[in-house]
């Protein structure tokens, strides 16, 4: 479970995140929805402790992620925005490297690697260097290495961005499976349809603040728009602080 309260972050004079609060429950998929530049990536980066918030609190499974970032990171599986791979390592070696850094080794690591390679249907590319991989294959590698330590909480920053239909489906299948396993999945997107199809709860972010939260149905009621896309546009274009 992830609980975020009053998160704030400024870059120079630009306020990227200004008082974001939300909770992502276990056994649920929470969607962080917002237009480009709304502060989704910055929020996630603070969650997985590569950025420090100016103020606010983050709890990952009751661990204070600001005071004890490494303990929190151990409980997180992360697919960052614009992730990169090592072109000279194979897919399997990517999983092994991150698994070892998380303290898994030997038979346990081999077993877990095999599970993920099967799950993501990656056996054909498992022992090839990632240099010539397609975007879909690269995303699978990055997703598998994020899950290698079986994290309770999974953060995915726009995981389906630029993916073809088949790869998008594979990602959605994984996300649903993680939910069934009782894990907490937080995933960001600017695509309305995707979020509404997948998420149990939606947090809409615009201009660095939460402008609405609830189930897809709640949002429709909240804005008075039947169509979720209209609802999103209505929410995203709200003036600073005029709402909420």
């Amino acid at each position: 479970m992830i609980r975020v309260e009053q998160l704030r972050k400024k870059f120079g004079t630009v306020t990227a995140v200004s008082g974001v609060s939300f909770t992502a429950e276990n056994g649920a998929i929470t969607g962080l929805l917002g237009p480009n530049g709304a502060g989704k990536t910055t929020t996630l980066r603070m969650l997985y402790a590569v950025m420090r918030p100016d103020s606010g609190s983050i709890r990952v499974d009751d661990v204070d992620a600001i005071a004890d970032p490494h303990e929190a990171q151990g409980r997180l599986g992360v697919l960052p925005d614009g992730f990169g791979l090592y072109p000279r390592l194979t897919a399997r070696e990517h999983l092994e490297y991150f698994g070892e850094l998380h303290g898994i080794s030997g038979g346990q690591l081999r077993q877990r690697t095999k599970e993920l390679l099967d799950l993501l249907d990656m056996n054909a590319i498992a022992d090839r260097r990632t240099a010539g991989f397609s975007h879909g294959e690269r995303t699978k590698v990055a997703l598998a290495r994020a899950l290698v330590h079986s994290p309770q909480n999974v953060l995915l920053d726009e995981p389906t961005n630029g993916l073809d239909v088949m790869s998008t489906r594979a990602v959605r299948t994984i996300v649903r499976r993680l939910k069934e396993e009782g894990r907490c999945v937080l995933f960001s997107s600017h695509v309305m349809q995707e979020v509404s199809a997948l998420c149990d709860a939606i947090v809409v972010i615009a201009h660095g603040r939460v402008v609405a939260r609830g189930t897809p149905d709640d949002l429709r009621k909240h804005t008075g728009h039947d169509n979720l896309e209209d609802a999103f546009v209505a929410l995203a274009s709200v003036e600073h602080g005029a709402h909420e």
Binding site: Y48, V50, H70, F83, G84, Y86, P87, Y97, R145
Partner: protein
């Protein structure tokens, strides 16, 4: 977060970075090429010197007007390594065109003056701007002076005067440098090449694992792993240092094998790198690799892009050339402050070790200690840079 876990993670990072860099065949070959080029250049230069020396030993002396001084020509022929040949038609033109290194001209009136015991003129046509001809010209000049001195002595004896009276002073050169030191002087570039190998070997990993990792976008996922930044920076630094050390070892081995293929004995130089030198070379050069790798990692982390990092590395490689070039121009001393200077300390130690001297243990410890302290400071700085969001996300 225990120390044990951090050390294990450092080992994981080192292993990954070394595996990754060993797979970069192009970079690997460029390291092998760069560190071999030094010893090869030395071998080539030494061979040229040896050839030159051999040429001087077998000296060709063209003489114009042989018939005017048959006794002199006969005497020259009897000297070992001298081949007297008929001089060219136009001696000055031949020397200017580098067809001959020199020509002796015996004028018509040589015998006449010689018989009258008056100074008889001999001319040496030479081009003093030609460095390569200089030893030959010197040798011929000495031979002719020797001939003159012998004739002079005979004349004095014939007049009942001791030749010693006409020789108020005697000159003798006493050589104080040992053969090993003379060799080290000629081979003064070896310490420079050994130190440069450290810089060349480490720069690939140092840039690829910092600026390269950031540019590839793999730094952010890496930093999500639960470990302090010092673990990542330390692992990357040590991986670069390991490759730097391997490159240093390769150059050292090449330099040790090299003299076997060189005509050093022939040149009167005793030079070899044996097991007893190896310990000294290792003790001097390997701690330096920890410093150079730390310096390169810090600089590459500061660079805004991979390209920029690479060009900085090119500048850093010039660093070990400073003491190398200075050492070739001025004899380098061994003042205590030198040992306490990174790069210069190992250079002085290597020069001494290769020159057949044994520097004190304190000198080794000072040099290694300074390298380690400087490396630790630089790694600490890099680790702080890795904490900075500006550095991590400066894409």
């Amino acid at each position: 977060m225990t120390v044990g876990r951090s050390l294990r993670q450092i080992a994981i990072v080192i292993r990954k970075e070394i595996k990754d860099s060993l797979r970069d065949r192009r970079a690997l070959w460029s390291i092998v090429f760069s560190v071999s080029i030094g010893p090869v250049i030395i071998g080539f230069m030494m061979n040229r010197v040896a050839d030159r020396q051999r040429e001087t030993e077998q000296v060709r002396v063209p003489v114009v007007g042989m018939q005017y001084a048959p006794a002199l020509v006969e005497w020259l022929r009897q000297q070992s390594g001298v081949i007297v040949v008929e001089g060219p038609q136009d001696p000055e033109e031949a020397v200017r065109n580098q067809e001959e290194e020199l020509t002796i001209i015996i004028p018509k009136n040589f015998v006449e003056k010689f018989n009258q015991s008056r100074p008889a003129l001999l001319q040496i046509v030479a081009d003093s701007s030609r460095n390569d001809a200089r030893p030959t010209v010197e040798r011929v000049r000495r031979l002719l002076q020797q001939y003159g001195a012998e004739i002079g002595s005979l004349r004095l004896i014939a007049r009942g005067v001791s030749p010693a009276a006409a020789r108020p002073i005697d000159l003798e050169d006493i050589e104080v440098s040992t053969a090993q030191q003379r060799a080290a002087q000629i081979l003064t570039f070896i310490p420079m090449f050994i130190i440069m190998a450290g810089f060349v070997g480490g720069m690939g990993i140092a840039t690829d694992s910092t600026a390269g990792e950031r540019e590839r976008g793999s730094l952010e996922p890496l930093l999500v792993n639960p470990a302090p930044r010092l673990v990542f920076v330390g692992g990357k630094w040590l991986a670069a240092a390991v490759i730097a050390m391997a490159s240093t070892a390769l150059t050292t081995v090449l330099c040790a094998i090299l003299p076997r293929f060189l005509p050093l004995e022939e040149m009167g130089i005793r030079f070899r790198i044996g097991p007893e030198h190896m310990t000294g070379i290792i003790a001097a050069a390997l701690p330096m690799c920890l410093f150079s790798a730390a310096l390169q990692s810090a600089v590459a982390t500061l660079a805004r892009s991979f390209k920029e990092a690479q060009s900085y590395m090119g500048v850093l490689v010039l660093l070990p050339m400073i003491p190398g070039v200075m050492g070739a121009l001025y004899p380098i001393g061994n003042a205590p402050w030198m040992y306490a200077t990174p790069v210069l300390g190992p250079y002085v130690l290597l020069t001494n070790v290769l020159g057949g001297q044994t520097p004190s243990i304190n000198a080794f410890l000072t040099s290694a200690g300074i390298s380690l302290v400087a490396a630790a400071i630089l790694v600490r700085i890099t680790s702080t840079l890795f904490e900075s969001e500006k550095i991590i996300f400066a894409r």
